[in-house]
């Protein structure tokens, strides 16, 4: 089908994205989640970590109970009398922050190593790629566990672990893409102009592989968030002072057997919705931006 009007790339992209209604819904959900996470202090009924605002008389309230302070525990409260809605919004902040920060850092690191590897070639390329193969042959949770067993706990430690888990994947992807780009004519042209290798890699090849890498990174944010939540649940992730969604779920575990499901249930739902929304948006981005790019198992 031929359309008469000419479109800017951005409009074409937006139209392509909007053709999938589920992806649009996911995008809207993701925007709402991001908004709620960023503005958590303004939208949540209480500051869940200000002890002065907590009332022990409100502890373990079922969803829908009125709090002593006047507002309603729509999602119940935990054993400290903390409003779960507020705790989830603050937790989302931490989970998203850790997920996005670690993914961006891993992306930068992985791309630098991958590009260097592609450009250097020879034994260095071989060594780096063997290392990448080695790391990717182990599940990410195992690598993260080993690292956390070594370096201990803390926000910085878990970010380091998440970076270490992710970099190899980006390095391999960007290397593959860079090797394809290297054979193209514009790189030959740049070389004829006697530009330095460094300039060719960063000014010519990098901008051309970046869109594909951003798509990969979007989906990886969801993995990072899920992994962080799992590690926090195991007690090896976030410290008690930065309660992410995983830690909230873990806290609720103790009350599960007495039937107080809401302390674990709702943070899990928030986690699930976030992960699904990111995955759907990422999948759609991939389809629109780069139909050739495939997921892990080629499906």
């Amino acid at each position: 089908m031929v359309t008469a009007t000419a479109h800017s790339p951005l409009r074409e992209f937006t139209a392509g994205f909007a053709r999938d209604r589920i992806a649009v819904a996911a995008f809207v959900a993701l925007c709402l989640i991001l908004f709620a996470a960023i503005f958590a202090p303004f939208v949540s009924p209480q500051n869940p970590y200000d002890l002065a605002q907590l009332d022990i008389m409100d502890s373990k309230a079922a969803p829908g109970t009125k709090a002593g302070a006047g507002f309603t525990f729509w999602l119940g409260s935990d054993d400290q009398g903390r409003d779960m809605t507020s705790a989830i919004l603050y937790g989302l902040r931490i989970s998203l922050g850790v997920g996005v920060a670690s993914t961006l850092a891993a992306l930068a690191l992985g791309m630098a190593i991958g590009l260097a590897s592609a450009y250097a070639g020879g034994w260095l390329d071989n060594l780096i790629m063997r290392l990448v193969d080695l790391q990717l042959s182990f599940p990410s949770i195992l690598i993260a566990l080993i690292l956390l067993a070594v370096v201990g706990q803390g926000v910085d430690k878990i970010v380091i672990a998440l970076i270490a888990v992710q970099w190899a994947y980006y390095a391999r992807t960007v290397r593959g893409a860079a090797l394809v780009e290297r054979r193209k004519e514009y790189v030959d042209a740049a070389r004829v102009m006697a530009f330095s290798n460094l300039r060719i890699v960063f000014r010519h090849i990098l901008p051309n592989v970046l869109p594909a890498m951003i798509v990969v990174a979007t989906v990886q944010v969801a993995h990072a968030i899920a992994l962080e939540a799992t590690l926090s649940f195991l007690g090896l992730g976030m410290p008690i002072t930065s309660p992410s969604l995983g830690l909230l779920i873990s806290n609720g575990f103790a009350h599960l057997l007495s039937g107080r499901y809401w302390i674990s249930f709702f943070p899990g739902v928030a986690l699930l919705v976030t992960i699904v929304a990111i995955n759907l948006v990422g999948d759609r981005l991939r389809d629109v931006l780069n139909p050739r790019l495939q997921s892990h198992y080629g499906i």
Partner: protein, 325 residues
């Protein structure tokens, strides 16, 4: 084939050595186990005696040397807290983990392949769409949270299944197994289902993608034109051809099942080696952590090696390209 196997084996040994050094050097950096093990009221002399008894006063390279020499003799040190050989502790726990992983794999295969076939044969039908939506959900659900919700549903609300622990076992060839008692199966069901969920989603997608690809091939159309029944075409022509990727992935994923069992075992208090690892990390029981990691690395190297061999045996194309390389 033999050269390939030998080269691959050599690679595996190198990987094992690198990993052992990394793991040892890494775990050595964790805190000082003496602080945790010894009575806080102990004086300097007692602390020094305990340090020497555990070999912690030697330089790092000597400790590694002792460790490697011991590893070849099957001795990876004594657990600081239980005071029994770490390897013995892990091997005691291993059957429980393997049983869990095996049960999860059986569930994933028994449901994943038929559901994937269905979704692949009828991709636009309502069940086909539902199966795919379910598998997308299965990919996104955080495993540990699903575990909690399973306990909530089956143990707290319905009261059908015990929430934690391993049930009654029967000794089979000197190994405790829970497959043969009702109590054992009851305890096994939830953790196995929890662990299986992710692999189930993966197998559904793999089978579906493979089936759809195979259906568009000429040999399937020929078989249909020949007048063969759809059932026979699926069984003989489609299934046989999609088995190669499925066998490979299933093999590779078995290792990751054992790794992910760490999470499931922690939720369901399943007495496997994953739970042992988490407990040991929490009390800084260094020899157990190192032994666990080494055993799991060994397991992975062996699995990857076997899968590579199986792949080469199953798919002649790999053999030919391997020979020319």
């Amino acid at each position: 084939m033999l050269t390939f196997a030998f080269r691959r084996l050599l690679q595996s040994v190198v990987v094992l050595f690198i990993m052992s050094a990394l793991v040892f050097a890494g775990v050595y950096a964790v805190g000082n186990p003496i602080d945790i093990l010894i009575n806080p009221q102990a004086d300097q002399a007692e602390i020094a005696a305990a340090t020497a008894a555990l070999g912690l006063d030697l330089p790092l390279w000597r400790q590694y040397w002792n460790f490697i020499a011991g590893a070849f003799a099957g001795d990876l040190g004594k657990s600081f807290s239980a005071n029994v050989p770490a390897v013995k502790l892990i091997f005691e726990r291993m059957p429980a983990t393997l049983e869990l992983a095996l049960a999860a794999m059986v569930i994933a295969i028994a449901f994943g392949i038929p559901l994937g076939l269905w979704a692949g044969l009828k991709p636009d039908s309502i069940p086909g769409r539902l199966i795919m939506a379910g598998s997308i959900l299965g990919f996104s659900l955080p495993t540990f949270w699903v575990g909690l919700m399973l306990i909530m549903l089956f143990s707290v609300w319905l009261g059908w299944l015990p929430p934690t622990g391993r049930g009654q076992t029967v000794m089979v060839l000197g190994v405790p197994v829970s497959f043969f008692t009702w109590d054992g199966l009851q305890h096994l069901f939830m953790p196995a289902l929890n662990l299986a969920l992710f692999k189930l989603s993966l197998l559904i997608r793999l089978t579906r993608a493979g089936t759809r690809e195979a259906l568009s091939q000429d040999y399937v159309r020929l078989a249909r034109a020949k007048g063969l029944s759809m059932a026979r075409v699926v069984r003989v022509h489609v299934l046989k051809n999609i088995m190669i990727p499925i066998v490979t992935v299933t093999g590779l994923e078995f290792g990751s099942l054992i790794a992910f069992a760490i999470v499931t075992e922690t939720i369901f208090a399943w007495p496997g080696m994953g739970k042992l690892l988490i407990d040991s990390i929490n009390v800084l029981d260094r020899p157990v952590v190192v032994a666990y990691l080494l055993i799991i690395v060994l397991l992975f190297v062996v699995i990857n090696f076997l899968v590579d061999l199986a792949y080469t045996a199953l798919d002649p194309r790999v053999r030919i390209s391997g020979r020319s390389a």
